[in-house]
């Protein structure tokens, strides 16, 4: 709904602006060009997405999620001291985090929602932890950004994966700042 209003407003703005910048003709052709360009773009990254989905499937089948889970639980107990006491919430949190790390969005969301529902049911004591869960899920924890690598490869990058260290570092900074902000706001919020 909100997105629809935003799109409409941006179209209007462009139509009003184009004659002023002397680019009415270019703007007139742009929409058709854009629609046409969307198809080859998706085709150009589809191959990469398929290949890396296969690698993720391999990791899933050899139990990478379970192996990660064991290592993640001590961390989760510290992050969510109240909720982690409930066995069901802890397992949902673990599934959510390991799926996020592996980049399995389709598995991360249902598990995260289960954890969020469990926390909401705990009421007052867990409401800060529920906010933390939201903050962690709105930051990216993905270790292998396959979609971005596919886009770079399709655009002719010399080495599609050479941005990996930068992505990891930036994700780490983002998550740390999110948790820091969470720790700060939790104390200030009334």
């Amino acid at each position: 709904m909100l997105l629809g209003i935003l799109i409409t407003a941006l179209y209007l703005l462009c139509i009003l602006l184009a004659p002023l910048t002397g680019s009415a003709e270019a703007a007139g052709n742009a929409v058709m060009e854009g629609a046409q360009a969307a198809i080859p773009f998706v085709l150009s990254i589809a191959g990469g997405i398929c290949l890396w989905s296969g690698v993720l499937e391999l990791l899933e089948r050899c139990g990478a999620s379970a192996a990660l889970a064991g290592r993640l639980q001590p961390l989760l107990r510290r992050l969510y001291p109240r909720s982690a006491r409930e066995e069901e919430i802890l397992s949902a949190l673990t599934e959510n985090l390991s799926a996020n790390l592996l980049g399995l969005g389709n598995a991360a969301t249902p598990a995260g929602i289960r954890a969020a529902k469990g926390m909401a049911a705990l009421g007052e004591p867990a409401r800060d932890e529920l906010c933390t869960l939201v903050v962690l899920n709105t930051a990216s924890l993905q270790l292998l950004p396959a979609m971005i690598a596919s886009i770079r490869a399709a655009a002719g990058a010399a080495s599609a994966f050479d941005i990996l260290p930068a992505v990891w570092l930036s994700s780490a900074v983002s998550v740390s700042c999110g948790l820091l902000a969470a720790a700060l706001f939790r104390r200030l919020w009334r």
């Binding site: 499937e57 391999l58 969301t109 969020a116 709105t138 599609a160």
Partner: protein, 173 residues
């Protein structure tokens, strides 16, 4: 070391295959299943891109993107962020497909190995669609008052954008 970096993709794939084979997983079947899921993903993102690509092209052709860049460039320059990434930073928390469209546009125009192209890729890869994700979680849990969740999440996004720009400048600037 350099050739090892160049071989990142086949090395990653091969280690996953090896790990799976050692655990008795049918490697070929797993890759096929993954490829099928990948096709589904590609088909699922297509409609949104078909709606948003014309808009991105229109934004660029009408001069609005340039205007936005010019307005924000003093601030972005002071922060050391490439001004081409301005629309990406504005759109990223709101729309995942919109961010994907804008980022791919920046990457193909500025070049995947240019500073702006790399910064856009790192920004896209180290952030999430904040408002969308928060809405999904909060509404599923029936939470009406999200308190400090959104402000804290936006702090994380801001940190992500700045650190993406700085790390890229450090490594490839």
């Amino acid at each position: 070391m350099k050739s090892l970096g160049a071989l990142t993709a086949p090395l990653l794939i091969c280690s996953a295959m090896l790990a799976a084979a050692l655990r008795g997983v049918d490697v070929y079947d797993a890759l096929l299943t993954g490829a099928r899921r990948g096709m589904k993903t590609a088909v699922e993102i297509l409609p949104a891109l078909l709606v948003l690509y014309p808009l991105i092209y229109l934004l660029r052709a009408s001069g609005l993107l340039e205007l936005l860049g010019q307005c924000l460039s003093p601030l972005l320059q002071a922060l050391g962020v490439p001004e081409e990434t301005a629309p990406l930073m504005l759109l990223r928390p709101i729309s995942g497909s919109g961010a994907l469209s804008v980022a791919s546009d920046i990457i193909s125009r500025a070049g995947p190995d240019s500073l702006a192209g790399r910064t856009a890729a790192v920004m896209l890869g180290s952030s999430e669609t904040t408002f969308y994700v928060a809405a999904v979680y909060l509404s599923a849990a029936g939470v009406k008052n999200s308190r400090w969740a959104i402000p804290a999440a936006l702090c994380a996004d801001l940190a992500c954008f700045l650190s993406s720009a700085w790390v890229c400048r450090l490594l490839w600037g």
